[in-house]
């Protein structure tokens, strides 16, 4: 009976093997490539850290893509959090239709980014777009705005796409958190004379802190990898295959990475370095966020 049980190893084996083959090996191979210059066909030339040095000192477009990515995150994440917690709170207190509201608002989250890109580029088109048309008809604008051609409004539209997509997800996560808060706390506060706004600000929001941290961390990690939405917003509707939007205002880090390796160029070594630099940034943010959560538990 005390012989080594082979079964747990047998059950764990498929995961370990496929992870090594299809995730770990490519990841390590990319790391090696990031020290080479290689176009995928000719000979590899070892260049040491030169790819990284060039990225950090001689590629303004990399910094621009990083800047764009952060601007879009700053535009979208706080607003989605605020809106998400508000909608969740109102839904939580709604007498009827909670499941209906959740379902309806969650639909954007499960929709393919291709659809979101096309629909938004139609809605914000200068000439034929729904948004300009509406504003003009309502008398709010005299002539259409070039939403997708101006650097700031282009970023704002992408932020809006992300908000539209994630609001339902944030709302559902917050709702689950609110369900976990004991009703006794609310009753006690009500007896002490707290109004609905006070209940929201003084009880609900502070008790949801853990969930907010979770949402912020995951949004930053996925936000740093933003690609589908900006690419598809400028990808096909107008027939243009322009990279990065107007004056690269919508170029994100992953878009730059994909463009450098598979679309405009095939600089595999250089773009592997981009991916690894982004990875380092993601790790830094994960550590910072981990500290945030851990620090909170100590102070309890």
């Amino acid at each position: 009976m005390k012989a080594i049980n082979k079964w747990p190893y047998f059950f764990a084996l498929p995961f370990v093997l496929t992870y090594l083959a299809f995730h770990l090996y490519p990841t390590m191979y990319s790391l090696v490539l990031s020290f080479y210059e290689w176009n995928g066909i000719g000979d590899k030339a070892f260049v040491g850290l030169q790819n990284y040095v060039r990225l950090l000192t001689d590629d303004p477009l990399f910094f621009k893509s990083l800047y764009n990515t952060f601007v879009i995150m700053i535009m979208s994440i706080p607003a989605t959090l605020l809106l998400g917690v508000t909608v969740a709170y109102l839904t939580f207190n709604a007498a009827k239709g909670r499941l209906l509201l959740q379902t309806v608002n969650f639909l954007p989250y499960i929709t393919t980014p291709v659809a979101i890109g096309f629909i938004f580029s139609f809605m914000f088109d200068w000439q034929t777009g729904f948004v300009n048309e509406m504003f003009i008809r309502l008398g709010l604008l005299d002539e259409g705005v070039y939403w997708l051609q101006e650097p700031w409004s282009a970023k704002a539209v992408i932020a809006l796409m992300i908000m539209w997509k994630h609001l339902g997800y944030f709302m559902i996560i917050y709702l689950a958190g609110m369900t976990a808060i004991s009703q006794d706390i609310y009753e006690a506060a009500k007896i002490d004379g707290a109004g609905p706004l006070q209940l929201f600000a003084k009880i609900t929001v502070p008790l949801l802190r853990n969930i907010t941290v979770f949402l912020v961390v995951t949004s930053i990690i996925s936000g740093l990898q933003l690609f589908d939405e900006p690419k598809l917003l400028y990808g096909g509707w107008s027939g243009s295959t322009q990279i990065g939007g107007p004056d690269n205002a919508a170029l994100t880090v992953i878009w730059k990475f994909v463009d450098e390796s598979f679309i405009s160029n095939s600089n595999f070594g250089y773009s592997a370095a981009i991916a690894y630099l982004l990875f380092v940034i993601i790790i830094l943010f994960s550590i910072v966020s981990y500290r945030l959560t851990a620090g909170k538990e100590e102070s309890r």
Binding site: A12, T18, I110, F257, F268
Partner: protein
């Protein structure tokens, strides 16, 4: 206050639904009529748009997407449940090491290895098949984590012991005792993986070069460039790609929402 809150919720819901509504009405228009005004009401060109879409290799593309998602779900579920069972229900030497390994893998974004993966797939001669977009789902760290938690919470050790005393083989226990017990977890994970693989855009974009193997997102995003830009037909294709998923989700929304929130609220 109450009325105001309902009005606000209604407004938000309308904003959530408006793009879908526009997508559906636009698919019923003749493209050139789209630009004459707001496509707020359905028109009568749906049949012709459908014909246009099916004149391309849309059926093949749809089949490709279905193949990818079904294969991804099947392999991901089996592999995740297996390692989940091992970590959650066995005491063995490498258990904590494996658990740690699984947690680390969750933190590594797929994009980091993307270049290596594409080159590897070409070297293995799979560049011209659907396999690269399926194999990426075999070892899915989130799935493994999810199943570990689920098996830990739902399968009792006594039940496993009594099955063992009855002389049931280990694979028999896994397939006949464990899997039926964790069905709710499996169905949530299945829905998530189906959804993510169905919507995936970046990996197919860089790994599939042959039009024959296009998946839906890739096909639709290329429609505008290859053919005459028939926007209405594109919208029709989009509807067909999106609506089945929406219907499945609406039918199963209760389980789905429960599954999505399970991991986050605990952690």
């Amino acid at each position: 206050m109450r009325r105001l809150s309902y009005a606000f919720l209604a407004l938000i819901s309308v904003v959530s639904l408006l793009p879908f509504y526009l997508m559906m009405t636009m698919s019923t228009y003749y493209t050139e009529d789209l630009f004459k005004g707001l496509p707020l009401w359905p028109s009568d060109f749906l049949r012709e748009n459908l014909a246009t879409v099916f004149r391309s290799n849309f059926a093949q593309v749809y089949l490709n997407s279905l193949t990818v998602s079904v294969a991804a779900v099947a392999s991901c579920l089996l592999i995740s449940a297996m390692i989940g069972y091992a970590i959650a229900k066995f005491r063995f030497r490498l258990r904590s090491a494996l658990h740690f390994f699984m947690m680390i893998t969750m933190m590594v974004p797929t994009q980091v290895g993307l270049i290596g993966y594409v080159i590897e797939m070409k070297a293995l001669g799979m560049g011209n098949t659907l396999l690269p977009v399926i194999l990426i789902w075999t070892a899915f760290p989130f799935g493994a984590f999810f199943m570990t938690q689920f098996i830990k919470d739902t399968v009792s050790q006594e039940l496993l012991e009594s099955a063992r005393l009855d002389g049931c083989s280990e694979p028999g226990i896994f397939f006949r005792v464990v899997l039926p017990l964790v069905k709710p977890g499996l169905s949530t994970l299945a829905m998530l993986v189906f959804l993510w693989s169905w919507n995936s855009y970046l990996l197919p974009l860089v790994v599939i070069n042959n039009q024959k193997w296009y998946t839906l997102p890739l096909f639709i995003s290329n429609l505008g460039i290859v053919h005459r830009t028939d926007y209405a037909a594109m919208m029709t294709a989009l509807c067909m790609a999106v609506v089945p998923l929406l219907v499945i989700f609406i039918l199963a929304s209760k389980t789905f929402i429960k599954g999505i929130t399970a991991g986050s609220v605990k952690g």
